[in-house]
Structure formats: C-alpha cells, structure tokens
Symmetry: C3
Subunit: 155 residues, 3 copies
C-alpha cells in the first residue's frame, strides 16, 4: 500500500513534496538512513499556518499546524522512496519545533498531532523517538517545523 | 559494572526510565545506534524542575535541572541496554535545550552539569559532541530538555 | 585539493578549529559518520558576532554570523579528516540556530549564508538537509550556532 492510499483512508491527502525554501535539499540519504529537512506548516495552497502558540495561536491551532508539517514530512518520505509504506523500516526520530510564547508549555500536546499521524500511517514502524521544544520564531512565521530521521528497508 | 552502581559511587541514584509524555517512544534503535527522546528535568517524585534561566531560575538551578535530565537520559540508556556500562561504545551527541530568557547566554555552563555526569559515568566513551541552545519554552515548564545519540557495542 | 585552498579561492581563510567551550568534544565519530558540535559565530580573534536578529542585529549581520559559524564547522571537518575535500562523502545535515526576536521569520535567509559556503566548498557533496529555527538565546550571546552531520569517505 502507498502512503497516499493510507492517508486517503485516514481522510488526508498527500501533498506534493515542498521544494526547499533555500539553498539546501529537502532530504539527504546516508546508507539506509533518510534525513529530512525541517518541514514548516505550509498548506499545498501556499498558505502558511502561522503564529505563536500561547500568543497569536491556540494549542489547537498548533496541532493543526503540526499535522500539516507531518503531511509535508510524509510527502518527502514518499518522494525519496517511491511512496510505498513498506519502504520504511522505521521512523527513528522526529524533531518538533513549536513557535511558543514563553509561558506555553504544552509542546507535547501540539507535537502529538504529528506523532499520531505518523504512527497511523506506518504502524509499529512509525513509533519514533522525539524531541519537542518551544522556539522563539520559525521560517515564514510558521507555527510548527518538523524534521525527521527515517531508516529505509535496504534493497 | 552497571550504570546504577557507577552512579551510586558518584552520589546519585539511577531513576526509573520516565515513560514518554505522549504518543512516541522513549528511545528507538537503528542498527548499532540508540536515539533517545528529549528528557525533561522531572524528578522521580514527579516534581518538575521548572523555570526560565535568567528569568525565574538561576544558572545554578539550571545546572541542577540539567543533571536531572542527564539522569533521565542514563535511565533510558539503562532500560535500552540492560544497564551495563560496557554496552555503550560511545555517547555520540547530546542536544541540550535550556529554557532561557533572551539575555541569558551561559547555556554551556548549564549544559556542562549534564556533560560532566555523562563523562563521569562512561569515561572516554562518554566524550560527546554537543549542541546547547536557549529556547523559549519546554514541555511542562521544564528548565532543561536533553536528547542523546548513543553508539552501542554490537553483540 | 584541501578545504583551506578551496576557501582561499573563495576569498575566505580557514580558521583554527575552535576548542569546545566546555566539557564536550568538538566532534565525535561513529563509523563513517562525523558529528560536529554546535559552532557559534566567534571570529578567530575571539570576537563574538553577537546579537538577536530582528532585535539588536539585522538580517545581514545574521548572515555574516552564519558564515562565521560555517567556517568554524569547516575547521572542525578539516581537523577531523586531515583537511582534504575528497575525504567528505556528503554533508548530510546542518542544524542552524538563529538567535531571533519573536517577530523575525527569515531564518532561511540567514542560514543560506552558511549553506551557500558549504555548497561552494564541497559541490554536490555539500548539498545537505537542513533545519533552521529561531531560538531565544545562544552561548556567549552568539547570533548563530550551527551543528553538522557529515558522511566520510571510508578508507
């Protein structure tokens, strides 16, 4: 089954893999490891889910943004692998950056919207280690940015 | 010798490995590599060492929090490996996030409390690369969060 | 060709590899992988390119700082490998932390000054994945800190 088909069954649409914002690549490979650049919470329409959680954005808006970042991570995984779920041996780590007011401390609640989606797509192969932190600001005013490390099934 | 025995000799007690706060795993393996999720500065009692260094917390309080985060990292290493020091080939990297007021710039002083403990436990195998940064906010109001990458001795 | 020679042709001078600020190592190896500690924007003279972009520093000052951090990353790569460009199989990932005011959102513009230099030195082997985020504060008041993961050519 493909990532796109699995997402469709979950009520989501796999976006096009976003082009890098600048002079880097969206992902890089290293042996059986796939390292995915930070994916911001930008919709396929180009609209950015922007804001600072605990300030201009609510925690629920943060969760919506985390889900969009996770969809963009999935798009990069699909672009790098051909899109079959079976190509992923293990999602190893997500790094989740949440634009946060200094007194907002529920980053795990926000990040779970991404982790839930990754786990729903890959099952046990989607169970990942994670670091979630609250940062001052993100590119383009994004509410959330997520990077990922993924172990691929070796051919 | 076990990590718990070594820590006892250093005047510390190895905590239980904290359960993940949300829908992720405390660590994930990838070949001989162990990737440990961000560990916040929560005591075994459940009390969080909270605060923003340079604001509601002093640098010394930050160091106490970094040590607690490091103990939780050690607890995860012990849970993943069986707890023998000899199972660790090399602590490769620590990522240290310090909740910081914008004018607090002594993150290395805070992070050293963690690095010193890791080095004391593992000796040369504890000499790690590190990135220490000051962030806006951390989960549960934690003063410090630390993630780690560890190379394991292959069986 | 050496990294130093290539940099000279680009109008830059390879600095001495900065000593770690504290109890960690500047880089650690793990098989064919080189993990480089966060390098702050400190000049060989000892002067720190300091400030918060969008506050006490402009975006252009941020770019100058990112370039200095990238030069320090290159110095660590040279120290770890002997300094030949051909020793690097692939720069896999840069983690770019920009000290940012909460309303500064052009971290990619700042980080590109580092990515451009890495790409100019290594060519296709310098095309890296990247996460760029805006943080509250950095060690010593640095404007930029950059960490790196590099795959080495195996002997």
């Amino acid at each position: 089954m493909s990532i796109a088909e699995k997402l469709a069954g979950l009520g989501h649409r796999l976006p096009e893999a976003p082009a890098p914002a600048a002079n880097y690549v969206a992902y890089q490979r290293m042996g059986g490891l796939l390292v995915i650049s930070g994916q911001v919470s930008r919709l396929p329409s180009g609209e950015m889910l922007a804001g600072t959680v605990g300030g201009s954005a609510t925690a629920e808006e943060g969760r919506a943004a985390a889900e969009v970042s996770a969809l963009n991570v999935l798009a990069q995984i699909a672009a790098a692998t051909g899109g079959e779920i079976a190509a992923v041996a293990q999602v190893v780590r997500l790094g989740v950056f949440v634009a946060s007011a200094p007194d907002f401390t529920r980053q795990p609640f926000v990040a779970d919207a991404a982790s839930d989606l990754i786990a729903a797509v890959f099952g046990p192969a989607g169970r990942h280690a994670r670091a979630a932190v609250g940062v001052a600001a993100l590119p383009g005013g994004a509410c959330v940015e997520i990077e990922a490390t993924v172990a691929l099934v070796q051919p």
